[in-house]
Amino acid sequence: MTHGAWQALLADWRVFAIGLEHTLLAAALALVFATLLGVIFGLLGVAPLSSARTLNRVYVEGIRNTPLLLQAFFLYYGLPRVHIVLPVLAVGVVSLSIYTGAFIAEVVRAGIQSVPRGQLEAAYSQGFDFVRAMRYIVLPQALRVIIPPYTNQCVNLVKNTQILSLIAGTDLVYQADTWSSETLLYGVAYITVAVLYLAITLPLANLSRWLERRVGGPVEARADA
């Protein structure tokens, strides 16, 4: 790994900029949809209706127990057989959203169930229905439990965008692969990709820590505030 290798990489910075752009785009879109799916299915998991809870189980267990790559390959290679040809970026966003959504659903369900049941019952006794009890009483308390594992899922999602590289998705890893296959300078290429991933995930982790403080630490500490 020489000085010349880094110069060659700098000269071709656009290759990596394109990869970064697509990785960021896929991650951002998938984060939004995965969070939506996670909240909806997480709530279904604690809903009073048993059919809603069954739906939650089928989604969560079916998706989180099969490999992400297999799900992406299904969308990429399989669906065209029935004449549904999603663009490659959409394949990435859809598969990442569905996959990460299943994990977030579990995070949300566990967070809600960590709030003592008495809170929900007290809310019911005050005339709240399920949706309002969740909105005003349970979810604000659950949030403190949810945020740290939710951040884990977000960071995983960002890193999992690399599945795009296996379906010609021009993300960071794919671009690095393509560039280094021409130049054979894979060392500098992969170090650069690692640093760029860090540049995305470290701020994400910091944001989460800031949010945790905003939402509040232990209950005692909040009583003083």
Binding site: Y76, Y77, R81, L166, A168, D177, T178, S181, I191
Partner: protein
């Protein structure tokens, strides 16, 4: 605390980079090292019929390039079986040479000027041309029909560069490329309509044309691909020895004989 661990991380990266720059000097005498070790480590293909193919029935490697590797082992170590084969792909083959895991790569590895900056190559032992595999029903007859279409290629191969140069010569032909990890995935992408052509060297395509009878290899060849035996830069004794052996094998007619044995011999190829 947080900043400290980040600095530590950067230091670790720096250490890796420095070690890449200074450590692992090329062996003083790679040839002598192999003799001491008593086995020649060679990277070969496992999925290119008649060149480097891991026969699923026998679990043995076979093909033209395997014959060359065995002959080199015989000449260096006195026994054609003193060779350890490792399957490589276009993406892994140069990394495995760099790391010292392999002495030689004999794996449909095309000699290019850019690769010669990083690796040493023997003189060519085979010349192939880049070809196109398409769906018969697509009506595609050649590169010109692929304007604005997508061509599937292998990661680590030089196919895209070669075809782009060819298209530039033709003018008004704009090609898109999608690169995949394995040839099998490119065929799947072709079948799924993700790409409109599967392109690599004609010899490699032959196997996939057999796999899917609805596909056909187009007759045109778009570049000369000279295959060479690759070794890590700095192993001069090994390079010089391999070069002498390949020249000798060509002059003695052995290369031609093996090509005929595997049915890959052609008097002249139609390079367009």
């Amino acid at each position: 605390m947080k900043h400290r661990s980040f600095v530590l991380f950067l230091a670790a990266i720096a250490a890796v980079m420095l070690s890449g720059a200074v450590a692992k000097p090329a062996a003083a005498d790679a040839l002598a090292d192999i003799k001491t070790r008593g086995v020649l480590n060679v990277g070969v293909k496992a999925d290119v019929l008649d060149f480097g193919f891991l026969n699923p029935k026998t679990n043995q490697y076979e093909g033209y390039e395997i014959d060359i590797a065995r002959e080199l082992a015989k000449r260096l170590l006195g026994d054609p079986n003193k060779v350890k084969f490792t399957t490589v792909t276009p993406k892994t083959r140069s990394a495995l040479l760099d790391s010292g895991e392999l002495d030689l790569v004999i794996a449909t590895f095309t000699i290019t000027d850019q690769r010669k900056l990083v690796l040493d190559f023997s003189p060519p032992y085979f010349t192939d041309g880049i070809a196109l595999l398409v769906q018969k029903s697509s009506g595609i007859k050649g590169l010109a029909d692929l304007n604005n279409k997508t061509i599937g290629v292998a990661k680590g191969a030089d196919t895209a560069t070669r075809l782009t140069n060819k298209a530039a010569d033709m003018g008004n032909v704009l090609l898109n490329f999608s690169a995949f990890e394995t040839y099998g995935e490119i065929l799947a992408a072709l079948q799924a309509g993700r790409v409109q052509a599967f392109s690599t060297d004609g010899a490699i395509l032959k196997y996939y044309e057999q796999q899917d009878p609805s596909t056909v290899i187009l007759p045109d060849r778009y570049s000369n691909e000279d295959y060479g035996v690759a070794n890590k830069k700095g192993n001069d004794s090994l390079r010089d020895w391999v070069t002498a052996q390949i020249n000798d094998l060509r002059n003695s007619g052995a290369l031609k004989r093996w090509q005929q044995k595997w049915g890959i011999y052609t008097e002249n190829q139609s390079i367009k």
